[in-house]
Amino acid sequence: MMSVFIGRFHPVFVHLPIGILLFAALLFFTSKKQKFAAVSTAVAPALVVGSFFSILSCITGYLLSISDAYNEGIVFKHQWLGIATAITSIVCYIAYQKKFKYAGILITLLTTLIIITGHNGGSLTHGEDYLTAPLSNSKSDKKVIANINEAVVYKDVIEPILAAKCYSCHGDSKQKGKLRLDLPNYIMQGGEEGKVLTPFQPGSSELINRLLLPTSNEEHMPPKEKPQLTKDEVALLHWWIESGASFTEVVKNTKQTAAIKGVLAAFSTGDATAAEQTQLPAQKVSAISSDLLTELNKEGVAVVPIVNGSNYVRANLIGVETLSAQTFQLLSKISDQLLQLNASFTTIKDEHLSALSNCKQLKQLELNGTSITNKGLASLAALENLEILSITQTKATAEGISSLTAIKNLKKVFLYNTSFTSAAIAQLKQKMPGLLIDTGGYKLPILVTDTTEAKALEIKTK
C-alpha cells in the first residue's frame, strides 16, 4: 500500500522536470547570444535538478502504473519515453559540462521528448481526445435522431451518455476500479466491487445509486470535479435499466413515462442547429424568383425565409386586403418552398384550401378564426408533411375527423372552439394515438382570494 501512496505523488513530481528542463533549454539557447551570456552559469544546475526530479518522476510513475488500471498501450509508451527523458537529461548534463560540440542537438532532443512524454501523460489522465476535443466541432457531436421511436436504446441513447461522462475513467485508456463501460460485455461484467447493474432493478444497480449520491459523498460518480450527468441523463439510464438493460431493444418497445417521453422527444429536436436539420426538409429547392416575390408582396402576402439563407419560406396572409383565387394561385407557385402558412383571421374559404393541396412541404397550417368547414378540411389530406394544424374558432365539426386522420404525419391539432364532440375526440385519439390534441376550453376556478382584498388587520401606530 505504501507503494500506491508514493505512486500517487507522480502528478506532483512530474511537473517539476518538465518546467525545470524546459527552462534549462531556454537558458542554454539564450546564453548563445552575447548579450545574455551571463545566464550560461545557470544551465548546469538547472539540468542537474531537472534530471533528479525526472528520475523521481520515473519511480513514482512506475509505482502508480502498477497500482491502477490504465490503458496498457499508452502506459508502455509513456513509461519508456519517461525513462528516455531522464537518461537524456543526464546525458545532456554531462555533455554540457564537457563542452561537447553537439550539446545543442541533445538539448533539442530532450525538449522534444519532454513534450511527447508530457502529452502521453495528459492523455492518460484526461482521455486521449482531451486536447483536441475543443477543436472538433462539438455541436455536431450532439446526435439528432430523426425518428426516436425506431432508435436503439443502448446504441443511440445510452452509449453517447456513457461515452461523454464515463469513458474517460472507465474506458479504453483507463479502468478505475477495474471497471469498463465502453462495451456491453464489460458493462455486464462489472468492476472490482462486483456487478454494476441488475437488469429491471435500477434501485439495486450500483451504476444508478452512485449517480444519485450527493456530490459531497466520496462514492458519488462522476467525481465532483468532473462533468456531471444532467437530471435527464440519469433519468434515461434509470429507464434503460428498468426496461431490462438490453443492448438491442428499440425505443418503441419499451415502457415510457411521460417524463421519459419528454426527454426522448428532445432527442429529435436537439439544440438550435439540430432543430434546423430536422425541421427543414432534406431536399434542396430553388429560390423563389424575385418577380414572384414582388407579386406576392404586392398582394399583401408576407413571405419570409424560415431561416436566413434557406429557400424554404413561411407565409402570412394577415396583410392581404382582399383574399381571392389570385392570392392562392400565387401561393401554389411557391408550393415547393412553402413550409408554414398562417391564414388565421382572414377571409379564407373552403375552396381556397383545395388550391393548397399541391403544397406538399407544408408543415404548419394556421386557420384560426376563419369560416372554413369540414369541406375545406377534406382537401388537406394530400398534405403528407403537415404536422401542426390549428383550426380553432372555425366551423369544423365531428365529421371532419376522417379528414384529419387522412393527414398521415399530423402531430398536433388545435380544435378549441370548434364543434368537435368529446366522442369524436375520443375516436380521433384512438385512430391516431400519437396525435396531440388540444381542445382548449380551459377554465379557471373562481377562488375566494380572487375577490377578497387583503387588508391591514389592525390600525398600526408608529
Binding site: 444532467t230 411521460a258 417524463a259 419528454g262 428532445a266 429536436t269 439544440d271 438550435a272 442547429t273 432543430a275 434546423e276 425541421q279 427543414l280 399583401g300 408576407a302 419570409v304 425565409p305 424560415i306 431561416v307 436566413n308 439563407g309 434557406s310 402570412n316 394577415i318 396583410g319 398562417n342 388565421s344 383571421f345 394556421e366 384560426n368 401542426i388 390549428s390 380553432t392 398536433k412 388545435f414 378549441y416 388540444d438 381542445t439 382548449g440 376550453g441 380551459y442 377554465k443 379557471l444 377562488l447 382570494t449 380572487d450 382584498e453 387583503a454 387588508k455 391591514a456 398600526k460 401606530t461 408608529k462
Partner: protein, 499 residues
Amino acid sequence: MTQKDIHNQRLVKEAQKAVMQQHTRRHFIKESAMGFGALALGGLLGGCNTSTSPNLFDATNPLAPKAPPFLGKAKSVIYLHMAGAPSQLEMFSYKPELAKLDGLDCPPSLLNGKKFAFIRGVPKMLGPQASFKQYGESGIWLSENLPHLSTVIDDVAVLQAVTTDQFNHAPAQLLMHTGTPRLGRPSMGSWVTYGLGSENKNLPGFVVLTSGGNNPDAGKSVWGSGFLPSVYQGVQCRSEGDPVLFIKDPAGMDRDIRKASIDAINKVNEESYTEYQDPETLSRISQYELAYKMQISVPGVMDISTEPDYIHEMYGTKPGESCFANNVLLARKLVEKGVRFVQLFDWGWDTHGDSAGNAVDIGLKNKCRKIDRPITALLQDLKQRGLLDDTLVVWGSEFGRTPMQENREGKTMPFKGRDHHGEAFSMWMAGGGIKGGTTYGETDEIGYNIVNGKVETFDVQATILNQLGFDHEKFTYESQGRNFRLTDLSGKVIHDIIA
C-alpha cells in the same frame, strides 16, 4: 520687434527646417514599421468581433418581416415586467429556514460591505409572509399568493437565481431591458423588431402596455430604440380611452379627406426624395402609410369588449378599465395578429412596508391577486389557440427583495416590508421552446446569495434572443464606429431551461 527677436525667429525656423530635411523617407518608414506591423497583426488575428450582422434597416419598408439567422422556436414575445421589484420570498422562493430566523437580528456577516437602498444599522430578519406548497408533476414550490399559476406550473421554467448589480429601480430596469444601466441603448423589443420585422404591416411590431397607475421608473427609455432607427421603438398603447392618442380623425374630417391629405403629404415627400435622395424621407412616407392603416386596424385589435364573456371571466378582465388583466388579454390579441414583441409593465411592486399597500403581507397579496389569474389565463389561452409553442412568455422584474425587514433610517417600519435586493431574485419563462416544469438555480437557505445556477440579466436577454433565432454575440448594430449588442460583452444562453 527688435533686431534680436527677428534673428531668433529666423534661427528657430532654420532649425525646424533642418529637422524636417533630416527626417527622410527612410526615417518615416522606419518609424512607421511598428504601426504597419500592428496593423498587419490586427488583420491577421481578426478583431474580437469577426462576424457581425449586416445592417438590416431598409428605409422603404423598415418593418418588413425578416428571417432569423437560425431556426428559432419562438415567433413572438410577451414580456411581463413587474416594476418595483416583487418579493421572491413571498412568491417563488421557498425558504423554511428563514421562518425560523424571523425577528432575530441580522448577523453582521450578511451586512459587512453591503450597501442597501434604505436599510441602515442592524435590521431584523423577516420570515416568509406566505405559505408554500409543491405543485404539478414537477413539484415546484409556489406560495399561496399564486393559486392559479400553480395549476400551470408544469409549463413554466423558474429561474431562482437571477442577479443584477443595480439596486435602484430605473438603472436596474434599463439594465434588464437595454443591457446597460445608463440611457441611450435600444431596448430588447427594439432589437427584436429590428431583426425580425413584423408579419402584420398594419400594426406596429413592438407594442408597450402599462398598468398600475404609473410608468416604470426608468421612463420611456426602457422601450426606446436608442441608436437603432426610431421606427423600432415601442409604441405605447392605452387600454382605456383611445388606444393610441389622436388615432381618431378629428371632427369634420372623414376617411376620404384623411386619405387625400396623406396622399398629398406623401407626394411632397416623394418629390423631396427625388431631389435629395435621403432614405429617411422614404421611412417617413411609410410611417404615414402605417399610421393611416393603424387608424383602422388598431382600434379593432385593441378593443377587448368584443371578446366572449367566458374569456373575460377567464382573464378577470373588465372592458373599459385600465388594468393589468386587460393588458394581458390585449397582449394575447396582439400576438395573435402577428405583433412581434409585446411589453407589459405593471407598476406598484415596491413593497418597502411604509404603508399597508406596500406591505409584503398585505399590498403584495393584492398585487399578486391582480396578476395571478390573468397570467394563468394567458398561458392557457395561448395554449388552446396553438400559440404557446410560438410565443415566449417572460415574467420578471428589475431585482428582488431582502430577507431582512426594512428599517428605513434605522427605525421600525409601520408594516412588514423588504428592501431592494439585487443579489438573487426569481423570474420565469414559458412557451416558445422553453422546457416547462423546470427550476434553474438555487439560493442559500434564506434567499440572500446564490448557491448555483446564477443567471445575469444578460443571460436572460441571450436566452430570449436565442429562442427567436439569434446568436446574441453576432446580432450587432454599428453605432459611432463600434458594433453594439444587446448583451454588451456578456451573456450565456441558459440551455438548461430550453426544451
